[in-house]
């Protein structure tokens, strides 16, 4: 058993996403014309020791996202916590 945290980091809507734009263009060229927008973000999975309380895990995860996983200048994040 351990705490499993899934973190989703996305570029803020106003921030340009060159990767997404390039992937979209490629998909359109490959024939997937119905794809109108693509945004590429990060999906990070963290394992925490089971010993921690859920509140503790949430607090640490939030700090970790803010400090390291997301760049608050341009990115937003959210995360979920499960016991697995």
């Amino acid at each position: 058993m351990a705490w499993h945290v899934s973190v989703y980091v996305t570029l803020k809507p106003s921030v340009m996403d060159p990767q997404g734009a390039t992937v979209q263009r490629a998909l359109n060229q490959m024939g997937y014309k119905a794809v109108t927008d693509v945004r590429v973000g990060k999906f990070t999975e963290l394992e925490f020791e089971a010993g921690l309380s859920e509140a503790d895990v949430k607090k640490q995860a939030d700090e970790i996202c803010d400090k390291l996983l997301a760049n608050p200048n341009i990115e937003a994040y959210r995360f979920t916590v499960e016991k697995k």
Partner: protein, 742 residues
């Protein structure tokens, strides 16, 4: 910013928020003969910012020497251009991206590289090399580690993706930059004389075409932002961060060069600071023409953007061009091939006015050249009181350490002196297969394929000396850059400068600026090396103070025959080692004084420009006759560090060490002789059989010299004072930064 901005009334408060002073606002009203609307106010605010308008530095910059036989394009364009013979020319320029990098190191540094690359290829040159000059606070600080990591990563990703080798640079860690890091990027491009194109709009009725990335709301007011001090408030301006898209820029570069080399354009200019506004009014004003554009035709990334936002956006990877009559369709075809956006957004007119419409309705109408003619200030200056305390510093108060080998070990591992392999290993420094001398030696050298020509290049800055003595420090930074070129065997032909200072409205800061520019000018004249362009970055300060005044020099050198190039490391056991130049004993302003004794004070070394020039001429003569096995100048860390650095081959391609036994010349303080930074000194090695010839040439140029020892053995021995195993020194030198960053 909402679309209601169109209706914003221009009040005193709004004027102030745009960074315009009351008399500047009055001047705008006088020019227009009426009050500006908000869009027009936006145009003036960015164009009259320090970043674009050089309000506080323009008068001083005019004093710099910019002319020479080889200068094909001096300051005033996107980059300077010099003739290098055989129909070839070189374009080069340096630019700062300090403020954006402080806020967002990866994107800030990356877009800095993108910006300087556009300056090069917009002149018709294919970029062939990048350089960078970086300054941070002490590397022991975790915040600095993150900045350093991000900046290097940003520079690496952008240059690597573009396929431009990053071949040289410098990194300095010093308290003065703890809150204001410096990120200066330089780029070098090659072109044929007949490929030169300029950023001007001419030919009434010619199409004005926008190409490249779409315009979004990013970076609005970046130029104004770069012209203010970093305060708590600037965190709110974070939306100003621009995201780099090197892939887009690579396409833009290829397409642009295809357009220029296909002879389809009248003029072209990149959109950098102040975006569409800057490119439009500068092109019109250079061409002595007017320009009329419709912002509704600009490719946009976001919905509902106002003319104000479109004009001021600093979205990256965009260019503005004027097509030759009848070439418009060909332009569009080439852009389609590269899958790039292109839109004809306006025409060249003969009115001298910059007229901006939105769906046909005029939203701004101003004289184009009034935007490029920012107010000129002659700020007050006063000599900082602290300079007096530096002069009064008594070196005798510093005891000479007992164990000088230990001092050498400490200095060699100092992150400012230690190998920057951790950095340049992340840069593709070989792509284009021209890099003959790669990072690690005094100057990088690239070849010009199909010829025997070669280019040497280096970038060097100097804050510590300039803080102590701005005039002398500025002379030294030019001398050091030129000396690095001379050590590689090339002839310095031209330079570009980036002046990083604090707030020029403070008299002490302006004093520094004034003296530094005087020193740069005198050195450039003495060496007969023109300054073909540069960049000024002011307001590098925070509530705790300004950075050390830091001029950075990018120097270009030329080889007629690139086979005469020289690297800094010893080659063969048994070679003779010579010191060229004279020893000193002063420790004022030295890295040694800072690292070992924690002091930044004293008189910095002085430099005799004539003596220095003779040294360069002698080195060139020796190189031309292939008399030298190695040449390395004495700079940070002085004599002992220079000899040590010659003992190890420091590229990412070869790692080899050779020991040496040398005497310690000169007289006086031992630490001063070992680690003092007296100028105009070079350590060379040569085959014993060439000694007579070498000495004869040195005598002819009047360069003092002394044979000090021999290459060989497993350790470095300097007189009776220093003996260290070379393997130990090499390990400290190469792994110091790597270990700190692990």
């Amino acid at each position: 910013m909402s679309s209601s901005i169109m209706n914003v009334e221009v009040t005193d408060k709004v004027v102030k928020e745009h960074g315009l002073k009351p008399d500047e606002y009055q001047r705008i009203c006088d020019i227009l003969g009426r009050k500006p609307n908000i869009t027009e106010l936006g145009l003036y605010s960015v164009m009259w910012s320090e970043h674009c308008g050089y309000k506080h530095s323009r008068a001083l910059l005019k004093t710099l020497p910019t002319k020479g036989d080889k200068v094909l394009q001096g300051p005033g364009e996107n980059a300077g251009i010099m003739d290098i013979g055989e129909g070839w020319a070189v374009a080069f320029k340096v630019e700062s991206h300090n403020h954006p990098s402080a806020i967002e190191p990866y994107q800030g540094a990356a877009t800095g590289v993108g910006g300087i690359l556009r300056d090069i290829f917009t002149m018709g040159a294919r970029p062939v090399a990048n350089l960078n000059s970086l300054r941070f606070g002490p590397l022991t600080d975790p915040k600095v580690k993150r900045l350093f990591t991000g900046v290097v990563h940003g520079i690496a990703d952008y240059g690597n993706c573009m396929g431009i080798p990053t071949v040289a640079g410098e990194v300095v860690f010093d308290d003065s930059y703890a809150e204001n890091c410096l990120v200066n990027a330089m780029s070098v491009g090659l072109l044929k004389h007949d490929q030169i194109i300029r950023g001007k709009a001419t030919g009434i009725g010619n199409a004005v075409i926008y190409i490249g990335a779409t315009t979004g709301r990013d970076g609005i007011h970046g130029a104004t932002f770069a012209s203010t001090e970093i305060t708590g408030e600037s965190t709110e301006k974070r939306s100003a961060v621009q995201v780099a898209d090197p892939f887009m820029e690579k396409l833009l570069m290829e397409a642009t060069l295809e357009l220029i080399h296909g002879n389809l354009l009248v003029g072209i200019q990149d959109m950098g600071a102040a975006g569409l506004t800057c490119s439009t009014c500068e092109m019109a004003s250079r061409g002595g023409a007017g320009i009329e554009i419709d912002v509704a035709k600009v490719p946009q990334r976001e919905k509902g953007m106002t003319p104000y936002e479109i004009l001021l956006s600093e979205s990256q990877e965009r260019m503005l061009l004027v097509a030759k009559p009848g070439c418009e369709q060909k332009v569009h075809d080439i852009l389609a091939k590269w899958d790039l956006h292109a839109a004809t957004i306006g025409i060249v007119t003969d009115t001298g006015r910059m007229i901006v419409k939105e769906n046909g309705k005029v939203v701004a109408d101003v004289p184009a050249d009034s935007l490029t003619d920012a107010p000129l200030y002659h700020p007050a200056k006063s000599e900082p009181a602290i300079l007096k305390t530096y002069k009064e510093f008594d070196e005798n108060s510093i005891p000479v350490p007992g164990n000088l080998s230990e001092v050498l070990e400490k200095l060699i591992a100092d992150p400012t002196i230690a190998s920057k392999r951790w950095v340049y290993r992340q840069y593709d420094h070989m792509v284009r297969s021209n890099s003959l001398i790669r990072p690690g030696s005094d100057a990088a050298v690239i070849r010009v394929k199909g010829t025997q020509l070669g280019l040497a290049m280096t970038i060097d800055g100097l804050g510590s000396y300039c803080a102590l003595d701005p005039y002398e420090g500025a002379k030294i930074v030019v001398a050091e850059a030129a000396r690095n070129i001379a050590c590689s065997g090339a002839q310095s032909i031209g330079m570009t400068d980036c002046l990083n200072f604090g707030n020029p409205e403070k008299p002490e800061v302006f004093y520094y600026l004034d003296r530094v520019i005087a020193g740069l000018g005198d050195a450039a004249r003495a060496f007969n090396i023109p300054i073909t362009g540069g960049n000024v970055s002011l307001y590098n300060e925070n509530p705790t103070g300004a950075i050390d005044p830091t001029p950075v020099i990018g120097m270009m050198g030329l080889f007629q025959n690139v086979d005469t190039r020289i690297t800094q490391w010893f080659k063969n056991e048994g070679d003779s080692i010579y010191l060229l130049g004279s020893m000193g004993q002063s420790i004022g302003g030295s890295r040694y004084l800072t690292v070992t004794h924690g002091k930044k004070t004293g008189l910095c070394p002085t430099l005799n420009l004539e003596v220095e020039l003779k040294l360069h001429q002698a080195l060139k003569a020796l190189a031309d006759q292939k008399m030298l096995q190695s040449a390395h100048d004495c700079s940070d860390g002085g004599f002992a560090v220079a000899v040590s650095e010659s003992c190890f081959t420091g590229t990412t391609h070869e790692q080899k060490s050779l020991g040496a036994t040398v005497s310690l010349p000169g007289e006086g303080r031992l630490d001063g002789r070992l680690f003092g930074e007296a100028q105009s000194r070079v350590i060379v090695s040569l085959k014993p059989a060439d000694a007579a010839k070498v000495e004869e040439i040195l005598k002819k140029f009047g360069v003092p010299f002394e044979k000090i020892g021999t290459v060989g053995g497993d350790s470095l021995t300097i007189g009776k004072e220093v003996k260290v195993a070379v393997s130990r020194l090499a390990d400290l030198f190469f792994t110091s930064i790597e270990k700190m960053m692990a």
